[in-house]
Symmetry: C2
């Protein structure tokens, strides 16, 4: 059986779970490499992937005997067989943050489950700590993002629209990776004051400020980077905000290491923003992996230490409604000795 | 208050619901035009959209006084205020097919809900029947898809890869619409035997069969069309399967009308496939709207009549593992008199 399936079985034993239903696509991919609709059952005896006719051929071509995964077409599974998967299981785990209430009720009935237990944490804890292969994939996605940004510094000029710049990024990622990890943000002028702006037909002007939030995927693993750049001359109040964000971003990079407390790190940024008359209106960061946003969330509510081989973003931002915004973000690897920024594009005030 | 919010309030009254929490983005967009993270509360007194700092500026710019929607930043809502939204409400509805089990439990606690009642059907029933504006948007998305297919007939030739063709479709949609409604499928040769194939680097050869499943979005509304084409000479066994699929697709188009039973229509295709030694391995179709797959599902389990102004797909397909597959799909409007195919590309055996 592969290491990850073995690891989840060990964790399940520790929590007195005799079975588990895994439905979240990223968790299924993490454990089995399968990218298809279906659910993975961890039963006492077997690992079973239940899918349908559309995917039988593909799934059978992906798994190896070593995986020890049985593939079933749902249309061939009888009522009795469903009820037998978890026979004599006292507790069966499920992903409470993924399963809908409807599926929750359906699975209890269909599989005749005694105690259906919230157990998603088993997978989030496993996935939070990246292995060498995962780190290598994220690193590669970050390198491609740096390269894309280098290209952009030469490409961006007054007259282009936000959509044209976003399109250029999209095309670069299609050529060089598995494509965008999320919808690219290109927010210029007053649009930059919206942290989640969607690219518009607004035309870049001389002396505009532009926030670009971008990332791609390699083997399913994401990168995430934001830079705020100036086309021509920044205004003094923009420079003041830029420097405040940048100082905090660098400070956080210095503080990140195995054992550093997430709440403390976030609090320090919030305090400094407040002292300077601004607010921290979104999380300071988030885990990155098979999902662009995954655990751990980096905010005030998460009073836990960072751990070695987590990959997280460090992305303080300040937004002045109707005026402009600044966000600077890197994808960062947590090590025992400190943080390693995996996105390495320049971040001192960038004028293009 | 806008008509849709009024309609949902009327339906709620009929089900003895005094409040409702709407969390599914497409439902929020349908009712309010808002495209932002957050939840919509329908309370006795008000409609409240709870969001966060990232979206306050955007949401306030979208809604009009006529909508009668109050916008709240979650960080300004106290524990007491949360508990007061549904005060004196006996039953509060929620979307059981969208809300995760975790959110289900969280909302009961946070809003101090007495009876949290499965009520998603209110919205799926409303959304299944399209109004003139929605039909116009879908029609436009279908027209663009037809135009894209016309372009493809001239573009496709031996030597191109599946990915290059998919890219061409992507680019066409970016130029002419809000982009792809789903990940385009371009499956050639033996890849066409997988109904959900992902475009690969496989190079198109002389005499290849190619299945192309494509759609775009206009004002959020989707189109969905599949054509299976031949590059050069089809083989006799391919023509036999093609004609069987095409006959059934046309037969279904003739049967679709207000009042026609979904199960009966599907059964007739399954029977004809079986008589000819094949199987119907996926649904015959699905509703199309703000989501590419929405209600009603067109399969054997759905023993209900079609209704006027539903928009559904008609997409029979036959897949011969490891060999080839054929699927022919149109987006179709249900009327009192019959079906109107909104995608109109030719579907007699297409040789390019």
């Amino acid at each position: 059986m592969n290491d990850r399936l073995q690891a989840i079985r060990n964790k399940m034993a520790g929590l007195n779970l005799q079975g588990m239903i895994i439905a979240k696509p990223e968790n299924i991919r993490y454990l089995t490499n399968i990218e298809a609709e279906g659910i993975l059952l961890i039963t006492r005896k077997e690992n079973v992937f239940i899918t349908d006719g559309r995917y039988m051929e593909y799934v059978s071509s992906i798994i190896t005997p070593f995986d020890e995964i049985v593939v079933d077409d749902q249309k061939n599974i009888s009522k009795d067989e469903y009820e037998n998967f978890f026979l004599f299981c006292e507790n069966v785990g499920f992903e409470e943050g993924y399963l809908t209430y409807k599926n929750y009720k359906e699975y209890i009935r269909k599989f005749k489950i005694n105690n259906f237990v919230e157990a998603e944490e088993i997978l989030t804890l496993l996935r939070m700590i990246k292995d060498d292969k995962e780190i290598a994939d994220i690193k590669r996605a970050c390198e491609i993002t740096d390269n894309c940004f280098n290209m952009l510094k030469k490409y961006i000029k007054p007259g282009l629209t936000e959509k044209q710049i976003a399109r250029k990024i999209h095309d670069y990622y299609i050529e060089n990776s598995e494509g965008e990890a999320f919808e690219t943000i290109v927010a210029s002028g007053e649009n930059s004051s919206k942290p989640h702006a969607v690219p518009t037909d607004r035309i870049i002007k001389e002396n505009d400020i532009i926030t670009i939030d971008m990332g791609c995927k390699i083997n399913g693993y994401c990168s995430d980077m934001t830079r705020t750049v100036f086309v021509g001359n920044p205004q003094d109040r923009q420079i003041a905000v830029y420097n405040l964000v940048l100082e905090n971003q660098k400070k956080v990079l210095n503080e990140i290491r195995d054992g550093a407390n997430i709440k403390t790190i976030t609090k320090s940024v919030e305090t400094d923003f407040n002292i300077n008359g601004h607010s921290l209106i979104h999380a300071l960061g988030h885990g990155v992996g098979l999902e662009i946003h995954e655990d751990p969330i980096i905010n005030l509510k998460n009073d836990v230490p960072l751990k070695e081989n987590m990959v997280i973003t460090n992305e303080p931002g300040i937004y002045i409604a109707g005026d402009f915004g600044v966000r600077i973000e890197d994808t960062v690897l947590v090590t025992k000795k400190g943080a390693i920024a995996l996105t390495e594009s320049e971040k001192e005030c960038i004028i293009i």
